[in-house]
Symmetry: D2
Subunit: 386 residues, 4 copies
C-alpha cells in the first residue's frame, strides 16, 4: 500500500462521536436563543445525529446525557439509533443541575448529597449496561466560588471515595473517562481543574479509569498537545471532547478558533499511537447562534482535515531533521503537511466511501433543515435545562 | 481637621450604588440555583437594597435594569424607594435578551434590529427623565462567535451611529456611560472589548459620554489601575462596576478575589481626583450560591475597606520616595497602608453615623432574611430571564 | 485584469522590512546562544538583509536600531545598502540599555534622565534626515516593577511632554510610530501598555503620529485583528512589527505560532484599505536557536502566504453571507481562503519576478551560510548588548 | 499553651532559605542593571545572606547554584557560612548556560549532550555530599521553540532516563526536588511544564523525588493553593520557590504582587500539615531594580506575614461554617485572618527572639549597604552569566 493509500485507509476508519445535547438549544448565562427544528426528544436528537453520519460517514455513534436523554427503554432507543444507521455511544452523567448540587455533588460537604450524586453515577452504569456503551464520561461541576468556602483537600478525599465506588461497579469492558476543566461553573477552585488531578485519580483507580481531554478546558496558553503526548505515554488517554475556544470554554466548533492547534493535537495522537478505538474522539460543543446540524457536520470535517494533515506529515524527514537539530527544517516538515489543502483528498475519500464529496452542500440540498423546522413544532425543545 | 479626621469625613461621604438585579436569582449557563426570599418585583428589590443601605449607610441608590425593572409608573417607584430610604440611580439598558438580538443589537447587520435596539435605548432615556436618573449605562453583548461571521469594521460604524443618536437625546444633566468587556457572550469578537474602544467612541460623542470600568471585564493580567489613572487623566472616567474575578467575568463579590487590586484601584481614584460624585461607584455582581443581601453588604464593606486604605496612604512620604527613586521605600509606603487593619476605623465611622459598627452581624440579627423567606412565596422570583 | 491577476499584482508589490538586529545574536535572560557567521557591523547586517531580499523579492528595506547601528556616515551606509540592492528603512530608538534608564527613560522621575532620553530621540530624527528614513519607531521599556514605585499618572504627563518635543522636530515627510507593549521588561505597570494608550497620545500629537502594532505585545486572548480594524478605521495604523508567540513576547517567526491569526490580521488590513505604503510591514523577531537568515526568509514567506490567503477571500460572497446573517456560510467563505494552499501561487509570483520559486532552497544552495560562517571570524558579533 | 502562644512558637521556627544568586546582578533580556556592592564571590554572597538572617532571624540557610558558586573546597565554604551564622542549603543545578544546551540538556536529541548534563547533575550530588545539603533542586530550561522542532514524547523518555540515573545516585538522606515551569526560556513546549508532569516523574522515581512549586511558574489564573493542597495530600510536596508575578515569571519579591494569594497558599500548607522541615521554603527572585539585601529581607517578612495570618485562621469556626454550607461565613472566617494586621505580632516575635522588631529599619541603620558599596570594588560582580 502506498503512503497515500494508507492515509486514505486511515481516514476511512475515523469515527467522531457527536453529542446528543449539541443538537438541542444552548446558550450563555445571558440568553439561550431558540432555533427552529430543534429536537424535542432523544429520538429526534438521534435522527439529527444520523444525518451527520449520513453526510460525513464519520460520525457513527451518538453520546447520551443522563438525565437529558433519559428514556424508559434504552434497548428501544438503541434500536431506534440502529434503524437510523448510528449507534449509541458514551454515557455522560449530570450532577450539576439539581438544586441539591449548589455546593457540589460528589465533593459536597453533606454526605446525603454525595450519596445522591453517586447513585446517579451508578444509574449511568445501569444505562450503559442497557445501551451496551463502553464509556462513562464524568465531568463534575464541583468546586467553590470563594476562598475558604470549603476545604480543598477534604473535597479531594470525597471525590476519591465517590470515584472508587463507581469504578468498582464498572463491568469488564466498561471504562470511566474522567474529564478535567480549568474553571466554570466554579470560580475560585475546581475539584478536577487539570490533567494532573485527573491523572492522579485515574492512576489510583486502575486501568479502566482514563483521562479525557476537552480541548476547551485549559488555562490560557496551555500546550494541549504536550498533555496529549504525555497521557498517551502514560497509557492514560481515554479520549477527547473536541471543541474550540478563543477565551474560556467557548465550546465553538472544533477547529474554528485555532486549526493549527487541532492539527498539532492530531499529530501527537498519530505519533503516540492514539489513532485507535481506545482513544474516543468526541465532540462537545454549543451551537448558540449557528444552525446545529450543519455546524456539527462542519466540526466533523474540521477534525477530519486536521487528521488528514497529521497523517500526511513526513515522519521520516521529520525524525531526520529533529535528530540533526535542524530547527527550521524540522518545523518546515510539519508546516508542509499543515499547509497542504487536504480538502481534495477528503473529497476523494468520501467518494470512495460512496458519499457526496461535499457534505455541507449535500446536507443543504437534502432539505432536512426545512423538514425538521416544519415538523418539530410544539412540544418542548431540547436544551440544557432538563 | 487632622488627617485621620479627613479620612473619616471622606469615608462618611462614600456612596456605592447597588444593582437591582443582584438581588434576584442568577447563575451560570449550567444552572441558576434559586434562593429563598428572592424579590419578585422591582419594589421588593428596592426593599432589599434599602436594607443594605440601612446597615452600611453607604448604599443610598439602586440601579435599575430595563426591562427587568419596567413599571408603569416610575415616579411611584421613585417614591417607593424614598419611602424606604434610598433613591433610584443609574438606568441600565438591555439589548441582549430579545430573540432578535441573536447576532447583535446596535451592531446587528439588519437595520430593523438596530432600530429596535436604539429605540430601547431611547426608551431608557425616557425612564431617566421619569426617575430623575443622571446616568444611562450601556453594555452591549454585541459581537461575533466566528471569524468572518460579520464585518468587524462595519459593526463599529453601526455602533457609532447608534451611540450618536442616543447621545443627542440626552438631557443637559444626563450622561451616557459606555461599558467595555473583553468577551462573553460573544466568543470571537466583541464590539466594545476594551477601554480604548470605549474611549475612542466617547471622545467623539462629547463630554456627556464617559467610560465605565467593570473590574471583571479585562484580559488576564491587565493592570486595571493604569486604565483608571489614564481615564481620569483624560477626564473620561464615568464610573465603576465593581465585582471580582479569578478567571473571566466571574462577578464575585468586590474585593473577594484580589483585595490588593481593589486597593490599588481605589488609590488611583483618590490620587487622580476621582473620589467625587462624577465618578459613580456601582456594584455589578452575581451571588449565585451565597445569600444575596448579606453578600452585597459584604461587597460594600469591601469597597469601603479598600477606600479607607487608599485614603490612608501617606502621599507625602510616597511622593518623596518616588522622587528619590527608592523603589523599596515607595512600595513600602503603599504596603503600609494596605497592611493596616481598617476595620476598627470603619467601625468607628459607622458609630459616628449612628450605625451598628458591624453591618453583617446587625443584618443577621435583624431577621430580614427569615422575613423575606417567609413572605416572598408564590409569584415569579426575579432573575435575568425577563 | 482577472481577480487572480489582481491578487498576483498585489503580492508583487508587498514589501516587508527586516530589522537589522534580527541578524545579530539574541536570547533570553538565561542565555544568548551565539551563532556562527553572525554580523559584526551594520554593514554586515545589511548584507544579510540583502540576501533575504535577493531570495524573496519582498524585503527591500532594512530597519536600523540606534545606537546598535550607529555609524559616522549614514549616507555611506545608505549607499552600502543600495549597492547591495536594499534601502535603509525605519529608525528604531533605544532608551533601555543605558545604566541611567533603570527606572525609565522619558517617564523617569528625574528630569535629567528624561532630557537624555529625549535627546537620543532627537538624535534619531537627525539620523532619519541623513538616511532619508520616513519613520521613527518608538518603543519604551518604561514602567515600574512594584505598586507604588512611581506615580502612574505623572509618568503619563512626562511621556506626553517628551513625545510632543520629538513630534515638533519631525520633518514634513517624517512620521512617529508609537509602539505599545503589554509587559516586559517592566513587571507591574508599563507606560504604553495597550493600543488605547498609544492611540490617545497619537491623537493629541497629530497626523504624523501613528500607532504600530507588534503582534506579540498583547494580553492573552486579545483579538488583534479587531485592533487593526479599529486603528485603520481611525486612520491611526502606522504599521506592524510582525512576530509570533505562544505565551508572552516570544518573538518567534511571524506565522509560526498561529498562522490563522496572521491571516485574520492580514484580512483586516486588506479589508480596511491598509495594504498601502502608509502601513509599514516590519518584522521584529529573535532567532535565538534557529539560523537567522533563513528564519527571516521563512518569516517573510509566512507573511506573504497570509497575505495571499487574505487577498483570495471572496469578499462579495462574504458580504452576502454576512448580510444574510448566515454564520456558517460567512465563516465558510473565510475558511475557504484560509484552507487554500497558496504556495503554488506564490511560487508562480516569484517566477514572474525572476526569482527562484523556492526561496528557502535557493538560499541553502547559495552557500551564503557557509560563506559568512567562514568569513565573519574575529571581531564582536552583533547582539542586543550595545 | 494559648493559641496565640502556639502561633508565636510556630513563627519562631519558620525558616526561609535565600538563594545565593539573588544577591548577584540580574535583569531581563533587555538589560542587566548593575548595582553597587554586589558580591563577587560565593563567600560574599553568603555574607549578604547572613545579614538577612541577622535581621530577620528567619533565613538560616543559603542555597547554592552550581556552577555559579563552584569552589574548590566546599567544606571551607560551609565553614565560612557557619562563621557568619548561616548554613549551606539546597544545591541548584544549571544545565542551561553552556553553549551545548541550545536545544536542551537532559532532553537534548544528542546523547553526548545528555551525558554532559547528567554528569553535571551527578557532580551536584557530589557537592551535596561535601556541603551536607539535603536537597538537589532541578530546574530544566529544556523545551522547544517551534512545533516539530523535536519529538515531545521522546524528550519525556530522555528526561525519565536522566532523572533515574541521578535518583540512583542520591544518598539515603538526600532528596531530588523537581521544579516545573509553564514557559521560558522555551516558547513552544517545555519539558516539565506543569505539576502533573513533575508529579508523574517523581511518582515513578520514588519517595526521594518530590515536586517543588515555584509560585511564578504557572499559567495565568492557575489556582496554586489547589496544587499545594493536592501535592501535600499525595505526599509529594518537597518545597517552594517563592516569588511573585503579575504576568509571567516576573520573579518579583514574594508577596508583592498578590499577598492574598500567598496567604491562601500558606493556609493550605498549614492545613495540609506542610509546615514542617520536609517542605522547604525557599526564595527564588530577581531584584533587577531594587536594592538586593533589603529586598530579600522584605521578602522574608512577607512570607512571615502570610504565614502568621494563615496560622491565625480560626480553623474550628471555619470547619463549622464549611460543614454548614454557609459560604459567606466560611469566607468571612478566612478573610478575618487575612484582614488582621500581623505586623505587631511579628514585631513581638522578633523581640522575644532578641531581634530588632523592624528588620528593614535596623538593616538600614546597620550601614551594611554603604560598607559593601565601598568595599566590593573591582573584580567581577556576580550574576547569572557564569
Amino acid at each position: 500500500m502506498t503512503e497515500l493509500a494508507a492515509v486514505k485507509a486511515a481516514l476511512k476508519t475515523q469515527a467522531v462521536e457527536t453529542p446528543s445535547w449539541a443538537y438541542g438549544n444552548s446558550g450563555t448565562r445571558f440568553k439561550v436563543f431558540a432555533q427552529q427544528g430543534v429536537p424535542r426528544t432523544p429520538q429526534e436528537k438521534i435522527e439529527d445525529a444520523a444525518k451527520v453520519h449520513e453526510f460525513t460517514g464519520a460520525a457513527p455513534t451518538v453520546a447520551l446525557h443522563i438525565p437529558w436523554d433519559r428514556v424508559d427503554d434504552y434497548a428501544a432507543l438503541a434500536r431506534h439509533a440502529e434503524d437510523h444507521g448510528v449507534r449509541l455511544g458514551t454515557i455522560n452523567s449530570n450532577t450539576f443541575q439539581d438544586d441539591d448540587y449548589k455546593l457540589g455533588s460528589v465533593c459536597h460537604p453533606e454526605a446525603s448529597v454525595r450519596r445522591k450524586a453517586v447513585d446517579h453515577l451508578l444509574e449511568c452504569v445501569d444505562v450503559m449496561d442497557a445501551t451496551g456503551s463502553r464509556d462513562l464520561k464524568l465531568w463534575f461541576a464541583d468546586g467553590t466560588n470563594y476562598p475558604g468556602q470549603d476545604d480543598i483537600r477534604a473535597r479531594q478525599d470525597r471525590l476519591a471515595e465517590a470515584l472508587a465506588e463507581v469504578y468498582a461497579r464498572l463491568g469488564d469492558d466498561q471504562r470511566m473517562l474522567l474529564e478535567y476543566k480549568f474553571f466554570e461553573p466554579a470560580f475560585y477552585s475546581t475539584d478536577v481543574p487539570d490533567w494532573g488531578t485527573a491523572y492522579a485519580h485515574c492512576l489510583k483507580l486502575g486501568p479502566k479509569a482514563q483521562v479525557v481531554v476537552d480541548t476547551g478546558h485549559h488555562a490560557p496558553g496551555t500546550n494541549i498537545e504536550f498533555i496529549v503526548a504525555s497521557l498517551l505515554r502514560e497509557g492514560k488517554l481515554g479520549g477527547f471532547d473536541f471543541n474550540s475556544r478563543f477565551y474560556a470554554d467557548d465550546d465553538l466548533m472544533a477547529g474554528a478558533a485555532d486549526p493549527f492547534q487541532l492539527f498539532r493535537i492530531m499529530y501527537e495522537v498519530v505519533r503516540g499511537g492514539g489513532f485507535t478505538p481506545e482513544v474516543a474522539f468526541m465532540l462537545d460543543q454549543c451551537h448558540n447562534i449557528e444552525a446545529k446540524v450543519p455546524a456539527i457536520i462542519r466540526s466533523v470535517m474540521n477534525v477530519q482535515e486536521a487528521t488528514a494533515k497529521a497523517l500526511l506529515v513526513d515522519r521520516d524527514a521529520l525524525a531526520a531533521a529533529q535528530a540533526a537539530g535542524d530547527v527550521l527544517a524540522a518545523n518546515g516538515v510539519l508546516m508542509d503537511a499543515y499547509s497542504t489543502d487536504v480538502r481534495p483528498l477528503l473529497a476523494e475519500v468520501r467518494g470512495e466511501l460512496g458519499l457526496d464529496p461535499d457534505p455541507m452542500a449535500s446536507y443543504r440540498r437534502s432539505g432536512w433543515a426545512e423538514k425538521i423546522a416544519g415538523a418539530r413544532v410544539g412540544g418542548q425543545q431540547a436544551g440544557w435545562g432538563a
